[in-house]
Symmetry: C2
Subunit: 396 residues, 2 copies
C-alpha cells in the first residue's frame, strides 16, 4: 500500500499543503506505511513548537451536533419504549442536505480548519448510543438512524469525514446481533470502523468481559471485514459514574486489563482495538500494568501492541507527554474527540482543552513519529481508510 499526499495551497486543508508541510506529511506517512523516513527523525520539542501541516487524521469524532429532527426521532422512540406500536420507523427521519451541512459547519468544520485537522473518523454521539434503553429492536432502529446520518455527513463532505458506526448492542443479547448492521455500514455505507461498547448496561457491567466467547461473533466479523473497533462506553445510567469524567475512563481502563489477562489476541491475531481517552488510566499506571502482567506470568505489554492502540484524547500537555513517553509511537493515534467531552478554553494556555494537536506538536517526538501519530498509524489500523482518502482526493 502506498499513499501520497496531494499538494496544493493553504495550511489547514490536507489537500492544500504548503511545501514544507507536504514534505513532512509525506515523510511521516512513508514511515507509517513502511517507507524510509529516518532522515526526518530529529527530535523537535520546542518552547513554541511548529504547527504540523501534514495530513492529520482525528480518529475520534462524534456527531454531537445532530440535527434537531434526529434527536426528536430518538425522543419519540424512547417515549414509545414500552409501546412499540408507537415507535417511529427509521425512515421517518426527515433532514435536508443543507441541514446536515449546517449541523457541522459552525463547529467541526470550523475547528478542523482552524486547528489544521484534515479529517475526522466520525461516529454517532457516544453518550447517545444508549444501549441500555429498550430492547434489541430499539437499539437496531436507532443504530440505523444514527449510522445513516453519519453516512450522509461523510457523503456530503468526504474530505472532512469518514464514517465509523454505532453497533446495535443490547445488554444480555449476543453481539452476533450486531454483525449485520456492521456489514451494512462497511460494505454499503463505506465505513472504516465501529465503536464497541464494553458495557451495554450503562454502568452496571452486567455482560461478560470483552475476552469472553460471548463477543467472538463480533470479533469474527470485524476480522473478516478488516475493520478495527474503538472500545467506547455510552451514557451512564449509574449515578456513581459521571459519563465523561468517570464512566468513559473506567471503560477504557477495564478493557485494557481484560486484554492483559486474556488470550483474546491469540484467538484473533489481526483484531485491532483502539482504547480512547488516552487509554483511560493505563499509561499513567504503565508500571502497574507491566508489573501485574509480570506477577501473573502473562506476556509483557509489548505482546498487545499489535492489537491495542491508544488515542490522544488527553487534554493537557503533561498527560500527552506521558502517553507518548511510555506507549510506543506506533500505538498512538491522533484524536481530539472534537466536538466532545470538554469544550472550554484552558485559562492556563489560552487554547481549547481539546485542541490536542498542540500538545502532540509540543511533545518530544521525532518528525517521523509525529507524522505516524497524526496519520500513518491510523492508515495502518484502519485499512479501508487509504482508499477513502484517495477517493476524496486527499492522497494519491
Amino acid at each position: 500500500m502506498t499513499v501520497k499526499i496531494e499538494p496544493a495551497a493553504g495550511a489547514s486543508c490536507p489537500c492544500c499543503l504548503p511545501r514544507r508541510g507536504f514534505m513532512r506529511g509525506l515523510a511521516g506517512l512513508g514511515a507509517g506505511l513502511g517507507a524510509a523516513a529516518a532522515a526526518a527523525s530529529s527530535i523537535s520539542a520546542q518552547a513554541e513548537p511548529a504547527r504540523h501541516t501534514g495530513l492529520v487524521i482525528d480518529c475520534h469524532g462524534h456527531y454531537t451536533t445532530e440535527p434537531a429532527a434526529m434527536l426528536a426521532w430518538r425522543k419519540r422512540q424512547v417515549d414509545a419504549v414500552n409501546d412499540p406500536a408507537q415507535s417511529p420507523s427509521p425512515s421517518d427521519v426527515k433532514v435536508s442536505d443543507d441541514e446536515v451541512r449546517a449541523s457541522v459547519s459552525d463547529r467541526q468544520l470550523k475547528l478542523q480548519s482552524e486547528r489544521g485537522i484534515s479529517l475526522a473518523l466520525f461516529s454517532p454521539r457516544a453518550g447517545g448510543m444508549g444501549h441500555h434503553i429498550g430492547n434489541a429492536r430499539t437499539s437496531l432502529d436507532w443504530s440505523i438512524v444514527s449510522n445513516d446520518m453519519i453516512h450522509r455527513v461523510a457523503s456530503l463532505m468526504p474530505k472532512n469525514f469518514v464514517g465509523v458506526c454505532q453497533l446495535p448492542q443490547t445488554p444480555g443479547v449476543s453481539p452476533r446481533n450486531c454483525t449485520a448492521e456492521l456489514e451494512r455500514c462497511v460494505k454499503e455505507l463505506g465505513f472504516v470502523g465501529c465503536n464497541v461498547n464494553p458495557d451495554p448496561s450503562g454502568g452496571y457491567w452486567t455482560d461478560p468481559p470483552l475476552s469472553d466467547r460471548f463477543w467472538y461473533p463480533l470479533w469474527e466479523k470485524m476480522v473478516e471485514l478488516d475493520v478495527p473497533g474503538m472500545v467506547h462506553v455510552s451514557a451512564s445510567a449509574n449515578r456513581n459514574f459521571h459519563a465523561t469524567g468517570a464512566h468513559y475512563i473506567n471503560g477504557d481502563t477495564s478493557a485494557f486489563m481484560q486484554f492483559v489477562t486474556s488470550d483474546l489476541f491469540k484467538d484473533f491475531p489481526t483484531l485491532r482495538l483502539i482504547i480512547p481517552h488516552g487509554g483511560g488510566a493505563v499509561p499513567y499506571h504503565w508500571g502497574r500494568y507491566r508489573g501485574l502482567a509480570q506477577d501473573m506470568k502473562r506476556p509483557p505489554l509489548s505482546a498487545l501492541m499489535g492489537n491495542v492502540f491508544f488515542d490522544t484524547c488527553v487534554y493537557h500537555q503533561p498527560g500527552i507527554d506521558l502517553l507518548l513517553k511510555v506507549v510506543p509511537s506506533d500505538n498512538v493515534l491522533f484524536a481530539s474527540e472534537m466536538v466532545g467531552a470538554v469544550n472550554g478554553i484552558d485559562p492556563e494556555t489560552g487554547h481549547a482543552y481539546d485542541d490536542t494537536k498542540r500538545y502532540v506538536e509540543a511533545a518530544a517526538l521525532s518528525d517521523a513519529d509525529r507524522a505516524k501519530v497524526f496519520a500513518g498509524n491510523a492508515l495502518k489500523v484502519y485499512p479501508r481508510l487509504p482508499d477513502k482518502l484517495r477517493a476524496a482526493g486527499l492522497v494519491h
Copy 2:
C-alpha cells in the same frame, strides 16, 4: 502543633537518622507543619538522586500477610454465610504475639528497613474486606477480627505501624452502621483513619455516590473524630473488573468525579479523603477534569484541595513525575501499598515496581516539598498521627 525528629544513628529508621537526613527531615517537617523552610527549597532532581533519609510515612499499607489462623477464621465465616449458627465468634481467633511479629518481619519490616520507610499506616487487606459477602453482621464480625489484628500489629511494633481501620460496610445498609466500629477503633485502639469503600457491592456499584446524604452519618463521625478516610474499594465480584488492575483504579477515578460534581465539602469543610493509587486516572487527565469543572460551572479543582489528597502508589517514574507536576505538593502523600498489588522487580530499573520512594526521590521537587510528600502532609491530614509518633519515640 510542633513535631521534632529524634536524631540517632542509622539511615533506615526514623529515630536513627544521620545528621544530613535529620536536618533534611526537620526542614521538610517544618514546612509541612507551617514553619519556615524556604532555604531548603532548591530543586534537586538528579540522574542519581540522593536517598531521602528523613521521616517517611507510608500512608497506604495493607496487612496482606495475615496469620493463617485469621484467614481460616474468615473461611469458616464465609462457609457459614447461609447458616449463621455455624459462624465463628470474633473471639475465636487465636494467634500468638510471635505469630503476629513473624507475619510482618520477613516482608514489611524488611522492606521498610531496606527502603528507608519509617512506618506505615496499616489497615486490613483491601481486597479482603469483601463487603459484598454475607450481611451486616458478617461484615461487622469480620471487621472486628481484622481491626483487632491490626491493633495487635501496631501495639507490638509501634515504631513501624499505626492503625487504620476497615469499616463494617454492607451494600444497601446505611454507613451509620459503621460509626460505632470506627469510634471503637479510634478511641479504644488508637487508630488514625479508616478505609471507605465507595462500592460495597464489589463491582456493581449499587449504592449511592459518596456525595449522597446516605453517607452523611459516616462523614459526621469522621469529622467529629477528626480522622480522614482513604477511598478504597475491596475485591471485585464482577468479571469485568480485575481487582488491582481495574476496579481499584476505577473506584479512585469515580470518587474524584463525585467530588467535582457535588457540594460534599461545603457540607463537610473539614472532611479529608485520600484517593489512593495516585488518584486513579485523575492526574493523567487533569486537563479533562479542569475542563469538565469549568464547562459545568463547578468550582475549579483547587477548591477541592483542602479536602482531597492523592497517594503515590504509581509504579513508574513517568507517572510519579506527572502526579507531582500537576497536583499541588501539599496534596500528595507518600505511599507504596507495600506489600500489595505489584510485587515484582522492574527489569527496566532493577528495583521493585512498588519501591515508590525511589521515584519520589528522583522527581523534580524541592527538598521542602519532598519532605512534605514523605511526611509533613500525612501529619496534617491525619491529625491523630503526631501523638502516635511521639508516643513511639519517632518524633518529639
